[in-house]
């Protein structure tokens, strides 16, 4: 009897439209946030915060962005890496050109710049659909990476074309980029950005915009006939998606690795993030996080598993086995639940509601 809607009657549409209509869910989320804000920074080692939590959150944000475009608006894109690169290099140019500029604004501005680029590369989506569009977006991927690699202006004419993050503070002396930044500060900053942006995304997808996207996704012809403008709607999806990816890319470059070259956002990155949303669940905010967890945490775990289990193995053996198991698990999860981990959770919920009665 843990999980019940019974007795929770909605007295207003407002209550029914709330983000988490079921109180248990609400509590679960609050608990998760509390843990993320209080427990993890308290107990997490630097290794944990910087090389597991931060990349996980950044990936989750990028996945979130792609999910808006692919999961909700139904436009498959493989340009994510390229858009992340735009965000990273835009932030770099902004923050080196105007050092007094607060990093938060720099990030948001970079996001907006990325959004514009996204719109630009979104135009073909009016004519091209499905996998053709997916592969077509690769054009933007390759072009953008080439661009940032080729023109020294983007990396301030440094010999090697690598951009590295100058120290920047959110407020006062609280640095979130650069060497002397406290891991906790970095983590909490990323966490806050991601949480806020996730809320925004939630607001978008459950309102008018989200419905328009899903309408286009499910049946673009019918959508047009109830008054949805296809191009506008798709381009809005590209813009917002790119906005998220841009910020993700910027945080990747500035807070996670703190030095990147364009090739850090290579095609593999785009694929990785596409995997995340498919594994996690297309058209699900939660799914973006679950997918990111799967793709980021699982390999790290598999890498360390043998050592933890206490027997030494040559690294190449470990890494090959890891790749194999990872692949096998992807297939296993797809067979278990093709609609992604989020759906898995939903099913679990339904079962819980019925529990202890089977039907």
């Amino acid at each position: 009897m843990l999980y019940r809607e019974v007795g929770q009657f909605k007295t207003s549409y407002a209550a029914d439209q709330a983000i988490f209509p079921i109180s248990q869910e609400r509590w679960l989320v609050i608990a998760a946030l509390a843990a993320a804000y209080l427990v993890i920074p308290a107990i997490g080692s630097e290794y944990w915060l910087l090389t597991i939590m931060v990349p996980f959150l950044v990936y989750a944000l990028a996945a979130l962005g792609l999910n808006l475009l692919t999961g909700y608006a139904g436009q498959v894109s493989l340009g994510t890496g390229g858009f992340m690169a735009v965000g990273a290099f835009a932030t770099y140019k902004l923050t080196t050109a105007f050092p007094e500029f607060n990093i938060v604004f720099a990030l948001l501005l970079a996001g907006i710049i990325t959004a514009l680029v996204g719109v630009l590369f979104g135009f073909p989506s009016l004519r091209i659909k499905g996998f053709y569009l997916a592969v077509a977006t690769l054009a933007s991927q390759f072009f953008l990476i080439w661009l940032f690699n080729k023109f020294p202006w983007f990396y301030n004419y440094s010999a090697s074309g690598v951009i590295s993050a100058p120290p920047r503070a959110v407020f006062g002396r609280v640095y979130v980029t650069g060497a002397e930044a406290d891991p906790r500060a970095k983590y909490l900053f990323v966490l806050t950005m991601v949480v806020l942006l996730a809320l925004v995304a939630k607001g978008l997808v459950r309102g008018r915009v989200g419905r328009a996207w899903m309408a286009i996704r499910d049946m673009d012809v019918a959508a047009e006939i109830i008054g949805i403008r296809p191009l506008r709607t798709k381009l809005l999806a590209f813009a917002l998606s790119s906005f998220y990816c841009g910020i993700a890319g910027a945080m990747w470059a500035f807070i996670y690795t703190s030095a990147v070259e364009a090739s850090a956002f290579e095609i593999d990155r785009s694929f990785q993030i596409l995997f995340m949303i498919i594994i996690g669940g297309l058209g699900s905010i939660l799914g973006s996080f679950l997918g990111a967890a799967f793709i980021v945490l699982l390999p790290i775990f598999l890498d360390n598993a043998p050592r933890l289990a206490g027997f030494e193995m040559p690294v190449n053996l470990v890494s090959n086995l890891q790749t194999m198991i990872f692949g096998a698990l992807i297939i296993f999860f797809l067979i278990a639940e093709p609609n992604g981990l989020a759906r898995l959770g939903a099913i679990g919920k339904e079962k819980l509601r019925l529990w202890p009665f089977p039907h």
Binding site: F275, I278, L282, N316, T323, F326, G327, I331, L334, P338
Partner: protein, 311 residues
Amino acid sequence: MDVLTAVLVTPFANMWSNPEFVLEVIIGGLLSGVMYSLVALGFVLIYKASGVFNFAQGTMVLFAALTFVGLIEHGLPIWGAFVIAIVVMVLLAVAIERLVLRPLVNQEQIILFMATIGLAFFLEGFGQLVWGGDVHPLDIGIPKAPLIIGGVLVNEFDLVAAAVAGSLVAILAVFFQHTAVGRALRAVADDHQAAQSVGIPLRSIWVIVWSVAGVVGLVAGIMWGSRLGVQFSISLVALKALPVLILGGFTSVPGAIVGGLIIGVGEKLAEVFWGPAFGGAIEDWFAYALALVFLLFRPHGLFGERIIERV
């Protein structure tokens, strides 16, 4: 201003001043294109018959090549290694059908696509686990000497590759057009349900298709392998095949060939004559851009079937 001249004037001036070189570049492009087509073929076969975009094709090429070269290093004669490698690829196809496709039958494209990604990871790890990460030189006695034909340089190896690709396509064409299996394959490609309803066993069809794709992958692997040496990077040739696919259409074998040739010539001309204006190394994104332009006019590729939307 000078950017404009560099883009709009200089390239054509260079072309005009040296037509022989242009011809050379075009031929070089055609021959590279053939190598792309070899890889693209595998994608097309599987997509045609099972509607699956097989992300693992590149890894299958690598896996096949590794198996082949590995067997040769264990002292088998080339033909022996070839036969066994084919057997291995067939077994692989059976396993894939049983373990991946069958449980996921009637799922959406994107899910099957994702499954093939899992497959790619698995094969990547497995191949390196069995054969190691070293580079394996592969020489099956294809001559590599440069030939100068009327002042135009052609590489013997590329000619052989072209011949191989050509005959491969010819064989496939015959296979599709004039055999019972081929007819069944085309039926399945047209409409799964209908095909099943007339009693075509979908599963065995899939096994056959994946086997054929595996063999095509093996051939591609051998050609690329004897060019680059068999090593992990071979799996990356898949990226060269994608623009060919969208340009030619996912569902068309001739499309894969023509697409390959167009991409090959296009990217080489761009690299050689326009590259300098942009600081070079533009051929990768140019190939995709080129494909994109074609798509804007033919949203389903040059030879792809177009889907009519009805309300």
